[in-house]
């Protein structure tokens, strides 16, 4: 069995599972945020009307809640949702509620690793599609909707069809100007936004072993854009050190068997990879940066669970140090812990000196909700994960997806720029 099958077998009390088996898996951790949370509350209300008992959760200690999409609250409806969510966590005894304006808070997927909320080998589900991110820690991490999250909150388990697995092998360490974001965009360009549908996307090889945990998180994060059920990397000492330094203990690693089976193996050479962008209006429209259209950009955005982890900010800072941005540029660290490290290590000063606006953690602009949405015909380069029509604002705005290095280099020139070509 591969690692995903091993985790799902254990979680369903079976010795062995195979692709297409339908199982009910016991869940170790579950997450909801200020969009899925009120949706779950709505499901609870419906269940109550149907006479189903919703008085107690299966295990409130295994639940955690993030405020990330509509914070700071842009309007009354959003503010009410935060109140609803707070009442819910209070009433049901959920202690892990990361509140905006009260110390550590941030994007749910970022908190999952920054706070060591999920451990290797665990089954982790969340009310958000990019829950896949956390598979980089060697867990089975999968996004679900409101009804399914409500079911998990009450029953502690959920059904899955065991996925077929695709294996992406990366040979050799990534070149300095190429980031994990370039690699996952390249993969999505090769297999399409449907290429991983219902499947596991597993990453391995010497290039992955060389990668930081944060880079692996970027890879798993965007398996969602290929339609995958989960993204995963076999955990190693780097993962153990990463989680231990964030307070985790009792870490036990699950590994796939030597004779693990994969539906297909894709092999990539690091030395052949280049900085790329995804052109509007799909993450699969990949072109190498040096062949990207020469458009006048209006904005560069460095934010989100995909592209505002600490190393993403460091990458942006290497470009922005001593330079000035030519277009509107916003950098929103993905959590307060990252924001603080960026401050302590001088990154915020580099950004502010370059003319960048630094904002608080939020999903707002990434999903076109608030905090910097795009006007009609505006063109943005962004470290986020989706560029569907209207994703970041007006239906006639455009988004190019890129690595933080490319987004920062493009901020300096006002055009889509390969970091190697920056003077």
């Amino acid at each position: 069995m591969n690692i995903t099958e091993k985790i799902l077998a254990r979680a369903s009390g079976r010795e062995k599972v195979s692709p297409d088996d339908v199982i009910f898996a016991n869940v170790d951790k579950v997450m909801m945020h200020d969009v899925s949370g009120p949706g779950v509350i709505k499901v609870f209300d419906k269940l109550k009307k149907q006479g189903i008992n919703v008085d107690k959760l299966w295990d409130p200690t295994k639940v955690w809640v993030a405020e990330d999409h509509f914070v700071p609250s842009p309007d009354k409806v959003s503010a009410e949702n935060i109140v609803k969510l707070s009442n819910f966590t209070k009433n049901y005894g959920i202690e892990k509620h990361f509140k905006y304006g009260m110390g550590q808070y941030g994007i749910c997927h970022t908190l999952s690793h920054e706070e060591a909320l999920v451990l290797p080998g665990e089954v982790y589900v969340g009310g958000d599609s990019h829950t896949n991110t956390t598979g980089a820690l060697g867990s089975f991490a999968c996004g679900l909707g409101h009804t399914d999250v409500a079911y998990v909150l009450l029953n502690g388990k959920i059904w899955f069809k065991v996925p077929h697995a695709l294996y992406f092998k990366l040979n050799g360490k990534l070149p300095e100007h190429v980031m994990a974001k370039d690699f996952i965009l390249k993969i999505i360009g090769d297999i399409s936004t449907e290429g991983g549908a219902y499947k596991t996307m597993q990453f391995g090889g010497s290039g992955i072993n060389e990668m930081s945990v944060e880079s692996r998180l970027t890879l798993c994060n965007m398996t969602t854009e290929a339609g995958a059920k989960n993204g995963i990397v076999e955990p190693d000492q780097k993962v153990v050190d990463y989680l231990t330094s964030r307070g985790a203990s009792n870490i036990s690693l699950v590994h796939g068997d030597d004779d693990a089976e994969y539906e297909k193996i894709y092999e990539y050479e690091s030395s052949e990879l280049e900085p790329v962008v995804a052109k509007p209006f799909s993450p699969e429209n990949i072109v190498v940066v040096r062949e990207a259209p020469s458009v006048e950009l209006d904005k560069s955005y460095i934010g989100s669970c995909t592209g505002a982890k600490y190393e993403d900010l460091v990458a942006a800072a290497t470009i922005l140090k001593g330079r000035t941005v030519k277009i509107r540029t916003e950098i929103l660290p993905a959590s307060i812990s990252i924001y603080k490290r960026a401050m302590e290590n001088g990154l915020l000063k580099i950004f502010l000196d370059a003319g960048v606006t630094v904002g608080p953690p939020t999903c707002g602009a990434c999903c076109g909700a608030h905090m910097g949405v795009l006007a009609k015909d505006e063109i943005c380069i962004s470290t986020t994960n989706r560029n569907f029509p209207g994703r970041m604002g007006h239906i006639d705005s455009q988004t190019y997806l890129s690595s933080p290095l490319v987004a920062a280099a493009s901020a300096v020139t006002g055009k889509i720029t390969d970091p190697r070509d920056l003077k």
Partner: protein, 161 residues
């Protein structure tokens, strides 16, 4: 189950066009319905009728996990989406929440059915009758668990074996 088809001849209809991100804060089902398909077809709300079906290409519902997407369609009156394939979270949200039926069809059916055609769908026999064109197509049967959840009326009413 009879209804008329609203056809979108394209692939990858994503959740951002089914219900744009700015409405994620909304949890009133009727209000969500007012904005269904707004990113692709601003006239959708005025033309959709109770019992209608949507017909589309590959990877319908790709993108976010927002259950707002099947909710907005269902509360607009849509009883089923017929597509060449579905993105996974949209599919399971539609089934587990009992909002609408996600029905997989083949390319012949997709090409043959036109906007406005009246269909009669029978999920017991897996037959789709095109009453306008007097033709019959086969839908892909639901897998075992999906069929059982649909029959039960959603995940909460489903009793695992």
């Amino acid at each position: 189950m009879k209804g008329n088809v609203i056809k979108y001849e394209r692939d990858n209809i994503d959740t951002d066009v089914i219900i744009p991100g700015q409405y994620l804060k909304v949890h009133d089902y009727a209000e969500l319905a007012l904005h269904a398909m707004e990113g692709l077809d601003p006239d959708f709300h005025s033309k959709v009728k109770e019992g209608d079906f949507i017909l589309s290409g590959r990877n319908f519902g790709c993108g976010s996990s927002r259950e707002h997407a099947p909710i907005a369609l269902s509360h607009s009156g849509i009883k089923a989406v017929l597509a060449l394939s579905f993105a996974r979270i949209f599919y399971r949200n539609a089934v587990d929440g009992a909002f609408l039926l996600p029905i997989e069809i083949d390319f012949d059916a997709y090409s043959n059915i036109s906007d406005g055609d009246e269909l009669d769908i029978d999920i017991k026999t897996n037959e789709i009758k095109n009453l306008t064109k007097n033709k019959v197509y086969q839908m892909k049967p639901f897998s075992d668990i999906i069929g059982k959840i649909i029959e039960s009326g959603g995940l909460f009413k489903y009793k695992p074996d």
